[in-house]
């Protein structure tokens, strides 16, 4: 019986509305780590992001499919940050505003101090 119930369990987990914002912070941390190899610095940058920015939870347009405010659009902030060249990572350093200028979508998910 327990096995049957387990077998029927759904593996999908809904994504909370503030996740695209936190993903932007993770992307800053990950790109810092990839380009510098400095885990402590990467962690500090995420913590600075979490401290300095307020996460916005924009309404998601389920009906549009391919248009504005789909989850994929909201993740573009994290995506663009994750694609930054290492030279830009060095240039931006601890200036998180410059990191968040990487995509116009960043303004939809994270509000500056």
């Amino acid at each position: 019986m327990i096995l049957l119930v387990f077998a029927a369990c759904v593996t999908l987990r809904p994504i909370e509305a503030d996740v695209p914002c936190r993903e932007a912070g993770y992307a800053i941390s990950r790109r810092t780590f990839e380009c510098t190899g400095d885990g402590a610095l990467a962690n500090r940058r995420y913590e600075a992001f979490a401290r300095q920015y307020t996460c916005i939870s924009p309404a998601i347009e389920y009906d549009t499919g391919y248009y504005a405010n789909t989850p994929a659009d909201l993740y573009h902030c994290a995506f663009a940050i994750g694609e930054l060249a290492c030279s830009l990572v060095t240039t931006y350093g601890d200036d998180l505003d410059r990191w968040l200028d990487s995509s116009p979508m960043c303004a939809l998910v994270a509000a500056p101090p």
Binding site: A8, C9, L12, R13, P14, E23, E34, G37, A72, G82
Partner: protein, 403 residues
């Protein structure tokens, strides 16, 4: 009692019927997030390279060493891990319930290794291959079952192709397969064993070991400019302390450097990141008990894991004495593994329970052929390669034939 169970089952089945509308065809992985990145990170060639070389060190070389004279050794190992990462996805299916249209799906990983060796007198030729296959997308536990059956076949087929296909990393969404293979030779000089192989990912694998003290070392050397030594391991393994070894056990001390991450986007190339660890193990205490601890130096300094185990006497011994029938063995291991805060993987870090249960038994009437099955939870070896695979459950199966 029956009513709540029926309600639970009805609710679960209703959920299944709903999510069945969130088909894989109409679902897209969302790039950019830590889950997506971790999903791709899990499926990389360097992990397959380490898989092939670590498998050869752990299983193939001891079996070849123990097979004196002329003989053939074949070993197949399969590791299946569930929930290694969670990948964010977006369903465009209108019938998919809104709460599941923007959802994460589990990434399951199958790692397979094969090793064969032909020994003649003191020389042997060997071939070892590793493949990693992973896919995300199944909506219910029950639909993951066929994938669990198909994945080993895909990974096994990839191993079969690795000899001609060489090193490959093919990505389609968050489904990907990575393979690598190495072929080489060993020379057994009694006091020392030397091994050299060429890895298809363009690396020279060198390994040496000796039994008297237990010293060993191995490294993968990439001759291409700037590639250096992506993985290396050196130390002493299962050192005997004379007559008191049966009481105090045998000591292993070694250090290891592994590639922790591999940059997947050439447009955004970063620096390689290593996991450098120091290991201490006292095994076979009273012939039955083990303790061990691992310290990490990079990327962060600290205790990585600690464990204790109980097992059958002779669990670690590899012998091919045809006069001696090999009995069944078991091992139960438990401990803690400490994952540091790693926001770059989207992880807040913490201390987690790790556990492993393994059993091995002879196959048929042969004294040399053996099968091993195991269940692993938060296994330190898995977390070393995939730090984001916290609370991942895995099972392992291996079959060894010596002829």
């Amino acid at each position: 009692m029956i009513t709540p169970m029926l309600m639970l089952m009805t609710g679960a089945l209703a959920g299944v019927l709903d999510v069945e509308e969130c088909t894989n065809q109409g679902t897209y992985a969302i790039a950019g997030g830590a889950g997506y990145h971790n999903g791709l990170e899990a499926l990389r060639v360097q992990a397959a390279t380490y898989g092939a070389s670590a498998f050869a060190e752990r299983s193939l070389f001891p079996a070849v060493r123990a097979r004196q004279g002329f003989g053939f050794v074949a070993i197949y190992e399969l590791n299946q891990a569930y929930n290694v990462a969670r990948v964010p996805t977006w369903s465009t299916e209108e019938e998919c319930p809104d709460e599941y249209r923007f959802a994460t799906r589990p990434l399951d990983l199958t790692a397979a290794n094969i090793g064969v060796a032909l020994r003649y007198a003191r020389v042997s030729a060997f071939y070892s291959a590793g493949s990693i296959y992973g896919t995300a997308g199944e909506t219910t536990q029950i639909t993951r079952v066929p994938i669990s059956i198909i994945s080993p076949l895909v990974a096994g087929a990839a191993l079969g192709l690795s000899g001609v296909a060489g090193s490959r990393h093919v990505v389609n969404g968050t489904s990907a397969i990575a393979i690598d293979a190495m072929g080489g030779a060993t020379v057994d000089l009694t006091i020392i064993q030397l091994r050299a192989a060429w890895a298809a990912s363009q690396g020279l694998f060198l390994s040496a070991g000796q039994d008297r003290v237990g010293l060993f070392g191995n490294a993968l050397v990439k001759p291409t400019e700037g590639a250096g030594v992506p993985q290396a391991e050196a130390g002493a393994r299962r050192v005997r302390w004379g007559d008191v070894s049966d009481t105090i056990g045998r000591t292993s001390v070694w250090g290891r450097k592994l590639p922790l991450a591999e940059t997947l986007s050439t447009a955004a190339a970063g620096e390689p990141i290593d996991l450098i660890t120091g290991h201490f193990e006292q095994t076979d205490i009273g012939r039955r008990y083990d303790v061990g601890v691992t310290l990490s130096k990079e990327p962060e300094l600290g205790v990585y894991e600690g464990h204790a185990a109980v097992h059958s006497p002779g669990y670690y011994e590899v012998s091919h004495d045809e006069a001696e029938s090999k009995p069944s063995y078991f091992l139960v291991r438990a401990g803690m593994v400490r994952m540091p805060t790693q926001w770059y993987y989207g992880l807040s870090g913490g201390t987690y329970i790790q556990a492993r249960v393994e059993g091995s038994f002879p196959l048929g009437e042969s004294t040399d052929s053996q099968a091993t099955v195991g269940l692993l939870f938060n296994d330190a070896e898995l977390l070393a390669l995939y730090p984001f695979a916290v609370n991942a459950l895995a099972w392992r199966m291996s079959v060894r034939g010596v002829f």
